[in-house]
Symmetry: C2
Subunit: 253 residues, 2 copies
């Protein structure tokens, strides 16, 4: 989409020259139409506050423009199907800037990823399993077993797999405990609570330095790896005697 | 990963020569080590039934091998960062086959996508908003407003955006109603229930043929677009007088 010959281009930006556009105004859009929208916005037309994340940038410096694209789009420079150059533009009938192949026109959608995990509580509800992280980020800090959900599994199967991989424990059932939207990270965390009917053997793997059973009052609250760890543990503790839990939904920008 | 000179290669397959491998057995794995694992499995070593989706294939026909890779990996043939050829292999420290750039070694992870939507119920709890789909799949069938969650939004913000785009209605708040794992589609649906405090104007857009308010007893149950539509509507109807709803979690393979 580097059309320096034209002297203008419309770009998606997180920072500058913000212009919100919705599906109505960007249907079947061309670069020329974009400039029209931009000029139109400068004249004060702005009824589109319901879509705060769609922004449009006009700039004359190609390198600056590239830097202003979100990294998840900027990193797509070639088509993964045919190897041709990717362009950044709003595909016909869409309303967001995407990476699109200049030859085969494949559109590369980037969407949030799902992280799945489990708060594993002992049957007496007095203790919980934590892992000390052996990899960055938050190396050496404590967390619940969790990781990216993979293809060909459900969210609970993913939480079970992560628990097995990181602690050696096999959990059988789980109730959804929390849904955590980490907007800037592009992640949705689905955290389950699970009961360990008897304390089986547990062991760290090479992504985990230690696995330990903590009574609630001894949880290292000041040394937890992530905000989501704290949310999930706090909510699991507060609802530990409730047979059915209503999952909390938290959003962090 | 096409090493026909060696006469063997390890591949990820959905159908043939299934061999489950876990993190312990596939750490820092090489192709040679793979063959070892394969032979080992043929000798009957199999303690890894907890990870049913990781499968390993040995085959001598390159085209056949490619066809046996899941489409979401097979489609990645080039690196989207540098344009070089992608290989399919298990990266060091991982335990699944991924597309990896042969030059810059970027790993291309493919994970399930999140679909967000809303069951919009009128304040009196008697009627619900449905859209008739104007695009495939399920063209002409009825559904709730829903679509892929985008970057830079929370799951509810996504449900709100989809509702606005497909019906013109602005929902303000929502309670999580259901989490639906569609395993073979690689999707997790997060569906909210939302109350329309007063019936504002609604209108279809070009992805939607009609938008209509249906009393529960007149919902076209036999003409709904997706299984998830039926699950969400049934559960929303059954819990419509409950102030707080415990989201249902359903998995479909």
């Amino acid at each position: 989409m580097i059309r320096s010959g034209l002297g203008f281009t419309a770009f998606y930006s997180q920072r500058h020259w913000k212009r919100v556009c919705n599906s109505e105004t960007t249907k079947n859009v061309s670069m020329t139409y974009f400039l029209g929208i931009r000029l139109f916005s400068l004249l004060g037309r702005s009824r589109l506050d319901e879509a705060p994340n769609r922004r449009l940038l006009c700039s004359s410096l190609v390198s600056e423009r590239e830097n202003q694209l979100p990294e998840y789009i900027r990193n797509i420079k070639y088509c993964s199907r045919c190897g041709s150059k990717a362009e950044w533009k709003i595909p016909t009938g869409d309303n967001r800037v995407r990476a699109v192949c200049s030859r085969c026109h494949t559109v590369f959608y980037v969407n949030p990823k799902v992280v799945v995990g489990a708060v594993c509580v002992l049957e007496d509800k007095a203790s919980v399993i934590l892992c000390k992280r052996g990899i960055p980020p938050s190396y050496g800090k404590w967390t619940i077993p969790a990781g990216f959900m993979e293809m060909e599994e459900s969210s609970f199967q993913g939480a079970r797999r992560e628990t097995l991989e990181e602690t050696g424990l096999k959990i059988q059932k789980g109730q959804l405990l929390g849904v955590y939207n980490l907007v800037s990270a592009g992640q949705v965390h689905l955290i389950f609570r699970s009961e360990l009917s008897e304390l089986e053997e547990f062991a760290p793997n090479n992504e985990t330095l230690e696995v330990e059973l903590f009574p609630w009052e001894k949880i290292p609250w000041d040394n937890l790896a992530f905000a989501t760890t704290k949310w999930a543990l706090t909510y699991a503790r507060d609802t530990r005697f409730e047979e059915i839990v209503v999952p909390q939904v938290i959003t962090k920008n």
